[in-house]
Symmetry: C2
Subunit: 293 residues, 2 copies
C-alpha cells in the first residue's frame, strides 16, 4: 500500500470516530458554541496528525492501534482545528476561506470563533485525561508539550513577529516551522507510540520523527503556496506573499526548498530507522515532503 | 481570623509560588510571548481561585495544603488569567483597562494577546498533568470540566449571545453566571479538595460549594458594577450597562441582587455543612457575596 492510500483509508476509518467522540464532548455544550466547534473540526481536512498517531501506535505495538490511540488522535485533531480557527482570525492571518468554506469567524463571528477555539483546546485535554491511568496524564503532558507556549503557540508567536520581515535566514524560518507545525505532529506521533506501549526512548524517537516530518510537511506547504493548485488546496495560492509571511521559498528558492523538504523527510526516517517495521513511517515521511496537496 | 484577612494572608504567600511556577513554565517560551503571558498573570488580582483551592485542601486534609494544591492553584490562576485576556479582546468585551492597567491586547497587540491566552490555557494543563499519578489526570479532568465548553467557555458563549437582550429572566442570567464564573471556581475547590485527599463524594460537595460561591461572587460583581468604587476595582463602573450586558441587577434590582447573593452564599455553606472544620469555607462564601471590591 502506498503512503497516500494508507492515509486515505485510515482517514476514512477515523472520520466517524472523530465525529462520535466530538458529539460526546458537545453533549452539554450551548447550541451555538457547539455548532461553531463542530464546524471547525468536521469540515474536511487530511487528518494527518491522528493518522500518524495511529501509525505510530501500530508500528510500536506491532498490531492494530488500540482504542486509546483513536481517542488521542481525536484530541490532537481538535487541537489542530482550534489552531486553525485562531490562526484565521482577523488579528492573525485574516483569512476568509479554509478548506473551501468560509473560515469560522466569517461563519459565526469573531467572538464565537475565539470561544470555539478555546473550547476545542480545553475539551481536547478533557478527552485525553479521561484515558486510563497512567496513560491519561502522560498523553496530557505530551499534548501540552506539543501545543503549548514552547511548541505550537510559541511557533505562531514567532511567525506573527516575523511577518513583514525580509531576508529572514532559513534557520530562523525552520525554528518557526518546528514550533507551529512540527511540535504538534511530534506530539501526535509520540503520543500514539505511548498508546502502543512505547518506552520513553521509543516515544522520544517518534517525537523526533514527528518534528522532522512536520517541518518537511511545512516546507512542502510553503512550496505549494507558490506552485500548488488552489482548487486542490481549498484556499488561495500566493497567500504567503500577500501576508508578507517569511517562507522557506523566500529564503531558499523553489528548488532549494524542495531539496530541504526531502532532507527533513530523511531525518524523520533516520529517527525511526532502528524500530522494527518502520517502513510505513518512512513512507509517510517521504510522502509528506513531496505531496501535491 | 476573618475571611478577608485569611484571603489576604494566603494571597501574599501564594504570589511568589505563582511567579516561580510561571517562570518555570516560561523558560523555553519565545521572549515576546512570555512577556505577554507574564503580564496577564502577574498584574495583581485577588487570587480567589487558588486560595479557595488551598482552603479546600486544608479543610479536607485537616492540615496545611500540600504542594500539589499550590501547583494546581497556579494552573487554575493561569486559566483565569487566559479567560480575562480573551474576554477583554475587541471582539469580546472590548475593554481597555484591567486591574488599573492597559488590557493585554492594548499592551501587546491583539494577535499576541490571543496567543498569550492560548499559551496560558495549554500550559495550565502541562503544569497539572505533571503532578504525580493518579492525581495529575484527575485534576486535568476537573480543570477541563470547569474551564471547558460546558463550563466557563460555554458561559462566555451564552453571555456573548445574551448581550443586548433586554428582560432576560434571572434564571437565564444565573445559568450564564454558573458557567462563566461558577464552573472554574467549582473546579478550584473540588481540585483543591482532591489534593487534600478528598473522596469522590467530598470532591462533589466542594464542587457544588464552589459553583454556588462563584455565582454569589458574580452576583456581587454585578452589584459592584452599579454601586462600587471604580478606584478599588481597577476598572470603570457602569461598564455592564455600556456593554448592554444582561445582569442580575437588571433582572432583580439592587436589593433583590443583594438578597440573591446572600442566598447563593448560604447554598454554598449548605453544600459543605457536613464536613468537619468547614467554618473557614462558610466564612469565605459569605465574604464572596458581600464583598466591597
Amino acid at each position: 500500500m502506498t503512503a497516500e492510500s494508507y492515509l486515505e483509508s485510515k482517514r476514512l476509518a477515523f472520520e466517524p470516530e472523530l465525529e462520535k467522540n466530538l458529539e460526546a464532548v458537545l453533549r452539554k455544550v450551548p447550541a451555538k458554541l457547539a455548532e461553531a466547534m463542530r464546524y471547525g473540526v468536521l469540515g474536511g481536512g487530511k487528518r494527518l496528525r491522528p493518522v500518524l498517531a495511529l501509525a505510530a501506535a501500530e508500528v510500536v505495538g506491532k498490531g492494530p492501534a488500540p482504542e486509546s490511540a483513536v481517542r488521542y488522535g481525536c484530541a490532537v485533531e481538535m487541537i489542530h482545528a482550534y489552531s486553525l480557527i485562531h490562526d484565521d482570525l482577523p488579528a492573525m492571518d485574516d483569512d476568509d476561506l479554509r478548506r473551501g468554506r468560509p473560515t469560522a469567524h466569517r461563519a459565526f463571528g469573531e467572538a464565537m470563533a475565539i470561544l470555539a477555539g478555546d473550547g476545542l483546546l480545553t475539551e481536547a485535554f478533557a478527552l485525553t485525561a479521561s484515558l486510563p491511568d497512567p496513560l491519561g496524564a502522560a498523553l496530557c503532558r505530551e499534548l501540552a508539550l506539543g501545543a503549548g507556549a514552547a511548541g505550537m503557540v510559541g511557533g505562531q508567536a514567532l511567525d506573527i513577529a516575523a511577518t513583514g520581515t525580509r531576508g529572514l535566514p532559513a534557520a530562523e524560518i525552520e525554528r518557526i516551522h518546528g514550533g507551529k507545525t512540527g511540535a504538534l505532529i511530534a506530539a501526535a506521533a509520540a503520543g500514539g507510540a505511548l498508546c502502543g506501549g512505547a518506552s520513553a526512548a521509543q516515544a522520544g524517537q517518534l517525537r523526533r520523527y514527528g518534528e522532522a516530518l512536520g517541518m518537511a510537511f511545512q516546507a512542502a506547504d510553503d512550496l505549494l503556496d507558490v506552485v500548488g493548485d488552489p482548487d486542490q488546496r481549498g484556499k488561495r495560492s500566493g497567500g504567503d506573499e500577500v501576508e508578507e509571511k517569511a517562507t522557506l521559498v523566500g529564503a531558499l528558492g523553489v528548488d532549494g526548498t524542495r531539496a530541504r523538504a526531502q532532507a527533513l523527510a530523511e531525518a524523520a526516517c533516520d529517527a525511526v530507522a532502528s524500530l522494527d517495521g518502520s517502513q510505513l513511517l518512512r513512507d509517510l515521511a517521504l510522502y509528506a515532503a513531496s505531496r501535491s496537496r
